[in-house]
């Protein structure tokens, strides 16, 4: 990457494209608004510091998601409240249906390993191969975790079961 100005310009573009979705994903991973904001800032800071790295990688999104997921994992130990109830979620800016809220809470009740795969696959719209690169696990493991997550979500949504 060239000058500081060019790096700053690139950072602003990255933030514009990815910030909101990253923030919501980090929130669902960390279950805490302040920690999620911190993880997002940390992600963009690391990206800004190592902007050259991106040019050696195949995908901007994989590169950024790797940093974000790793930042969240670094902070996971700080998460104290791992059970969320509807009133603990941040206030919504748009109208929503109860079933949306239930699904959010169900995903947040999944084990971290399943949750990160679901969020990357179904919210960040990444393929199994991209997720494999992001998490450093084999593709078959991604596919298996997605299947396990769907099964687990059905159980949670139908039976009210919840993981800590």
């Amino acid at each position: 990457m060239g000058s500081d100005a060019a790096r700053e310009q690139r950072l602003k573009q990255l933030i514009q494209v990815h910030e909101v979705k990253l923030l919501r994903m980090c929130y669902m991973l960390l279950q805490d608004k302040a920690l999620a904001e911190k993880a997002v800032q940390e992600t963009f800071y690391k990206a800004y510091q190592d902007m050259e790295q991106f040019y050696e990688e195949s995908s901007e999104k994989i590169w950024l998601m790797k940093i974000a997921v790793n930042s969240c994992k670094d902070m996971w130990h700080a998460v104290k409240e791992r059970h969320k109830t509807p009133d603990m979620l941040p206030k919504a800016a748009l109208p929503f249906e109860k079933k949306d809220e239930a699904l959010i809470l169900a995903v947040m009740a999944l084990p971290l390993k399943l949750r990160e795969v679901v969020l990357l696959h179904d919210y960040q719209d990444m393929s199994a191969s991209e997720i494999a690169q992001t998490l450093g696990i084999p593709s078959w493991a991604v596919a298996r975790r997605i299947k396990a997550a769907v099964k687990e979500l059905e159980t949670i949504l139908e039976g009210g079961k919840s993981h800590g």
């Binding site: 990688e57 690169q133 696990i137 084999p138």
Partner: protein, 467 residues
């Protein structure tokens, strides 16, 4: 709910229910300002480590197929990059256990399930993965080869293709293959059975026996690059070994190895050439001096001591009295014929006669007291963890009475248990010998030194450091 429905619902649900989580208009400015503040500050190691891990994870992209053969190279690569399994990050250990369970090599117990789903914290996950891996390989040494043997059976029973795959994995991983057997997938006009027949015929001719006589010998055949090939020579051969059973009396040979060219059927060396070359191998000296030395060595072995340094002090003292003067006289005469062993003077014999050894008299420091002083001094001088000195399995101990009595200790690094070393086989402590001398009268340290362990370069100067 299926996967498609989940994707549609989740996307919508997150962007409505979590719509309150919005962009921070000052984020870019804060990140840039933070970057400027840190510009002149050296990057934290943690950032570097995170990137090393990220880069390493990129290497995992080829793992798209579920077959164990396709996954296993990831273990080899990770071992190459991270070192011993025991020191891997929990996340990576977990992947191995998950794969073993996935391929039904291990049972998916509740604990393994919890590990695979990430429901354990880092420490628990790491411990659980270690336990599961140890149970799988059947011993404490969790490494790629042991995992593969636990999965596929003993290496000797693997097919030629599996062995070739293993060599290719090692090559791809970046392991130096120059001193290792490199296997290949059989190719060429000569089949395995034809190669075995060619080798048998050659051996029978060389030994002037009927081929049926060789039925009593165990034959192994595989396809590999000869170990002593010329650099750049990548021609694989059929490798045929004939071994005599251990309890066979009146055997033709203990074992013989032949290489058969897969295209021409020619032998790299015939059995006659190999057996005649063996006749020219120098044999250990059989003069009076060496016979006497061997008597001492046999006595020491009966006591469980295999190196001179480990011999009991009493035996060393008698050796010093009986043998050392003879060796010193030969050295002083300048005619070293009697000391010749395999074409050159036996430096080991000369070195162990370079001092006079005795046994401590009353009033002198005991071995335990001297050991304490020696290990304290070495620990302080070379910043070695003090408790490490208890871990050496081979410590040469001498009571040297050449002049003022000295206690001497030499620590053999190759006798350290590797699992106790942070860097495993590459740990500097595994390469460095330590030596200390303590005045047995005053308890003062006379000398502490470290020197690299040498293999094969046994000069008199190096050998003397061990005595």
């Amino acid at each position: 709910m299926d996967e498609k429905e989940l994707r549609e619902r989740l996307y919508h649900a997150v962007d409505t229910r979590l719509s309150g989580l919005e962009a921070d208009p000052w984020l870019a400015e804060r990140v840039i300002a933070h970057g400027r503040e840190s510009k002149n500050v050296k990057k934290k190691i943690s950032v570097g480590l995170v990137w090393m891990i990220v880069l390493m994870l990129i290497a995992v992209t080829a793992l798209a197929v579920a077959a164990w053969r396709d996954f296993a190279p990831w273990i080899a690569q990770t071992e190459h990059d991270e070192g011993d399994f025991i020191n891997w990050p929990a996340e990576k250990k977990q992947i191995v256990i998950e794969a073993l369970a996935e391929h039904e090599f291990i049972e998916k117990t509740e604990e393994i399930q919890a590990l695979c789903e990430g429901r354990l914290n880092q420490d628990e996950a790491s411990r659980m993965a270690d336990e599961a891996a140890k149970a799988f390989v059947g011993n404490e040494n969790i490494c790629f080869m042991n995992i593969m043997q636990a999965a596929w059976g003993p290496f000797d029973d693997w097919s030629d293709e599996d062995r070739a795959w293993y060599s290719q994995v090692m090559d791809d991983t970046g392991v130096d293959q120059s001193d290792k057997t490199v296997y290949a997938v059989p190719a060429g006009n000569v089949s395995r059975d034809e190669a075995a027949a060619i080798a048998r015929k050659s051996v029978a001719e060389a030994c002037q026996v009927d081929e049926n006589v060789l039925d009593a010998y165990r034959m192994t055949v595989n396809y590999q690059l000869p170990e002593f090939r010329e650099p750049g020579d990548e021609q694989p051969y059929w490798y045929v070994v004939l071994e005599a059973p251990r309890n066979m009396s009146d055997k033709l040979f203990s074992d013989i190895e032949l290489f058969v060219h897969p295209e021409t059927g020619e032998l790299l060396e015939t059995a006659s050439e190999i057996l005649s070359a063996r006749k020219n191998i120098p044999v250990p000296p059989d003069n009076q001096l060496f016979r006497e030395i061997r008597t001492y060595e046999e006595k020491a072995k009966e006591m469980g001591a295999y190196t001179f340094g480990e011999w009991p002090l009493e035996l060393k003292a008698v050796y010093s009295k009986e043998i050392t003067p003879k060796v010193q006289a030969i050295v002083e005469s300048g005619d070293l014929t009697e000391l010749m062993n395999c074409g050159q003077p036996d430096m080991r014999v000369v070195a162990q006669s370079s001092s006079i050894y005795g046994i401590p008299q009353n009033g002198m420091m005991t071995q335990e007291e001297a050991f304490q002083v020696a290990s304290d001094a070495l620990a302080e001088r070379y910043a070695i963890p003090h408790d490490l000195f208890e871990e050496y399995d081979e410590i040469a101990v001498y009571y040297d009475v050449t002049d003022e009595p000295l206690w001497k200790f030499v620590f053999n690094p190759k006798s350290l248990p590797v699992e106790k070393l942070k860097g495993g086989y590459d740990d500097p402590l595994f390469q460095m010998c330590y030596r200390a001398e303590v005045d047995a009268g005053t308890g003062q340290i006379v000398c502490v030194e470290e020197f690299p362990f040498e293999t094969g370069k046994w000069t008199l100067e190096y050998m003397k450091k061990w005595y």
